[in-house]
């Protein structure tokens, strides 16, 4: 039977088992919305801004192992989506975005709502397609889903002109897909894996550094086995939080610009470093030359060869799917009679414990007068037992959430790490809540970030999403203010958020519950009240200390051991 391109598009989503489609209609996608209307398998979530559609699909994907899917119209629909697509690209999130395009005969004529979608998104997608013939829709979407989730995942855009979605053809969904120019890596090289094992056994000051790749590839169990088998310290990057349980004694905390003293010192001073699904980015190892001053052997395991030896020299590169590589490495280690030297390990651990004790760990001076932002996160952790889904926006609150919420499971911490997109938290929480109805979803945000997508409170009302929003409202763009205090002579240029709305009234205007919290003693009761409201979205407006800074801090361009600790301690 012949079907229209629009009907084929929706059928493909059904074939892929798509549960939710996040989107916003417009002229170029009217046929697709019409086809969507006439079926009930794929549920559509109408956002209030296209950026939010992409973030919601992103949150859905990050909190599960599924591909997030979004649908936007041409022109401004697509350009609004670009921030979301770039966010997903930087963090390697599997996603398929379908955009409408003006009819093929109008392309290039500066038609109404025309934009070169493939051109604009090219640098921030894993791949993209412009479908010019209705016969190609099914095979293109099949490829798009395959590309999005295989290898190093990422967003894939499929641009469908309006006339193509109206034309008719037979629907055949390909059973399999073969792209001759694309062979994602599978197993790692066995010789390299054996070499890595030898290096690990001979280490005196070893360190395991794991990133978002571990979470994305579902290799947390293998990582945990490896760390425990070897008895080595383990640190997670911002993207890797939850990949190794934070409550484990071998966990030294997050590393990087706002990582723990012990994590950064261990990273700097180790003699054998294993990087797993991580990419040595600037916010993680700071100054590359400073990092390279200490001689150390580096084993780097990653699915993307271009991540290896990009910023640091690597001694044992292993390209492959993390699960397969780690399983093989575990086999080799278990079969080996050699073990890491007990005395060396004891010396190394006593050094790490010393760093833990002197440095810093994570401490702040609490107050009974003014709410400390760290205290809010600690309370959130206490009340949810470390098992909530926590989304965040970008800034100080993001770092405090990463530091003080102890994630013991992967896919619970949902944040924009690579691109650092303000406005990510709330729409991402919508995707998470839809994927996990009945679970606690907390959106940790600030009064700056939340206003970048606050219109989504309307979407939350429409779909009954009982998200708990914790806004750490310090009246400043806090991270900007912190850098201005440290590096720009206290000249707080444009970082004060003047004329803030009454967020309680805003929440109420959208039909939700708002609670304003001014005193430290009210933090826990307010949160308990919020969490007891199972069916309500509750907006908690915490008035926090505007002068609080995020510590420890490795200033930009400095080395990991040039860390600044809190002046309070």
């Amino acid at each position: 039977m012949e079907m229209t391109g629009a009907e084929i598009t929706i059928r493909c989503l059904q074939e892929e088992g798509v549960e939710y489609l996040f989107g916003y209609p417009g002229g170029a996608v009217l046929h697709i919305y019409d086809a969507l209307f006439q079926q009930n398998k794929v549920k559509h979530v109408l956002v209030r801004h296209e950026q939010a559609a992409i973030h919601a699909a992103d949150g859905y994907a990050r909190s599960s192992d599924k591909v997030g899917v979004a649908l936007v119209t041409s022109g401004p629909g697509l350009t609004n989506a670009v921030t979301g697509i770039a966010t997903a690209y930087m963090d390697s999130i599997p996603m398929v975005v379908i955009s409408g395009q003006v009819p093929t005969f109008a392309i290039g004529e500066d038609a109404f709502q025309e934009v070169d979608a493939v051109g604009i998104t090219r640098p921030c997608v894993k791949h993209n397609f412009l479908v010019k013939d209705v016969k190609d829709i099914a095979s293109t979407l099949k490829k798009a889903f395959y590309l999005a989730k295989s290898g190093r995942p990422g967003p894939v855009l499929v641009d469908i002109p309006k006339d193509v979605s109206a034309h008719k053809t037979e629907f055949v969904y390909p059973m399999s897909v073969n792209i001759r120019s694309y062979q994602p890596p599978g197993r790692g090289d066995s010789a390299q894996i054996r070499q890595a094992a030898l290096l690990l056994m001979s280490a005196k000051r070893p360190m395991i550094y794991s990133g978002g790749g571990v979470v994305l590839s579902g290799a947390s169990a293998q990582l945990t086995d490896l760390v425990r088998l070897l008895g080595f310290p383990c640190t997670n990057t911002l993207m890797g939080l939850g990949g190794y349980p934070a409550n484990d004694k071998q966990y030294v905390g997050m590393l990087g610009m706002h990582g723990t003293f012990e994590a950064n010192m261990s990273m700097q001073h180790c003699d054998v470093l294993v990087a797993i699904g991580a990419r040595f980015d600037d916010r993680v190892i700071g100054n590359v030359e400073h990092f390279a001053q200490v001689p150390r052997k580096i084993i780097h395991i990653d699915i993307d060869p271009s991540s290896i030896a990009k910023r640091v020299k690597v001694d044992v590169p292993i390209v492959g799917e993390l699960k397969l590589v780690l399983n093989e490495l575990l086999e080799v280690l278990r079969a080996s009679r050699q073990k890491p030297d007990v005395a060396d390990m004891a010396t190394w651990w006593s050094q790490i414990d010393e760093w833990r004790a002197t440095g810093g760990g994570l401490r702040y001076k609490n107050s009974s007068e003014i709410i400390k932002p760290q205290f809010v996160i600690e309370t959130l952790h206490k009340l949810t037992g470390g098992d909530a889904f926590v989304t965040s926006d970008v800034g100080q609150h993001q770092m405090w959430a990463a530091q003080y919420y102890k994630f013991n499971h992967p896919r619970r911490w949902i944040n924009s790490g690579g691109l650092g997109t303000m406005g990510f938290g709330l729409p991402a929480a919508m995707g998470v809540q839809l994927k996990h109805p009945g679970e606690t979803v907390a959106c940790v945000t600030g009064e700056g970030s939340i206003q970048m997508n606050i219109q989504e409170l309307s979407t939350c009302k429409q779909y009954h999403l009982p998200i708990k929003i914790l806004s750490l409202n310090n009246g400043y763009l806090g991270m900007v203010r912190q850098w201005q205090e440290f590096f720009h002579g206290n000249r707080f240029s444009e970082s004060y958020m003047d004329a803030l709305p009454d967020f309680v009234k805003v929440a109420e205007a959208y039909g939700h519950v708002g609670i304003r919290v001014d005193r430290p003693a009210d933090v826990e009761p307010a949160m308990k009240e919020a969490f007891s409201r199972k069916d309500d979205l509750v907006f908690m407006d915490f008035r926090t200390d505007p002068t609080e800074n995020v510590f420890p801090m490795v200033p930009g361009g400095k080395g990991l051991s040039e860390v600044v600790l809190s002046e309070d301690l």
Partner: protein
């Protein structure tokens, strides 16, 4: 160091811009880039001349391989290879110069394709250095117009870039 990178890619709309975009987005040099379909119409062959440290060249190779449309990549500079470039050059040819220019063209094994009262248009192929030397030998004063294709390269003997 200068490298000549050859690649095969799907002959699809936009494939060239993916490569060009990669180079500009990541700040890599392009000295020249040539592209045309191969005997298999579904494939294009591209030759890119670039330069950079070993680390940069390694990244260029990896990033090119990562592009979905790119089928295979070979750094020709890593082994024996042949490099050729075509130049069309229009010279002011008047009086005594006409004989001298014809001699020079013969020495460089060029061909005069077009002659007018005041000009010669010459075709010359060779490696980049040969074309450069020809330009130097002529002298800037007599050159009216130069068109160069950029280098095309191919491996020697059994070094074959194929599917």
């Amino acid at each position: 160091m200068r490298h000549i990178i050859s690649l095969l890619m799907e002959n699809e709309a936009g494939a060239l811009s993916r490569v060009a975009g990669l180079f500009s987005a990541r700040g890599y040099n392009i000295e020249s880039l040539t592209v045309a379909p191969t005997e298999d119409a579904s494939l294009s062959r591209m030759t890119i001349v670039t330069s950079g440290s070993d680390a940069v060249i390694e990244q260029i190779n990896k990033q090119l391989n990562k592009l979905i449309d790119v089928v295979s990549v070979m750094d020709l500079s890593e082994g024996e290879h042949i490099e050729r470039e075509l130049m069309l050059i229009k010279l002011r040819a008047e009086g005594d110069d006409r004989e001298e220019l014809k001699r020079l063209t013969d020495i460089f094994r060029g061909r005069i394709l077009d002659v007018s009262d005041h000009t010669y248009t010459i075709e010359l192929t060779g490696a980049r250095v040969k074309l450069d030397s020809f330009i130097d030998a002529i002298g800037r004063d007599l050159i009216l117009e130069t068109v160069r294709t950029g280098a095309s390269g191919i491996g020697r003997g059994n070094r074959i870039l194929s599917l």
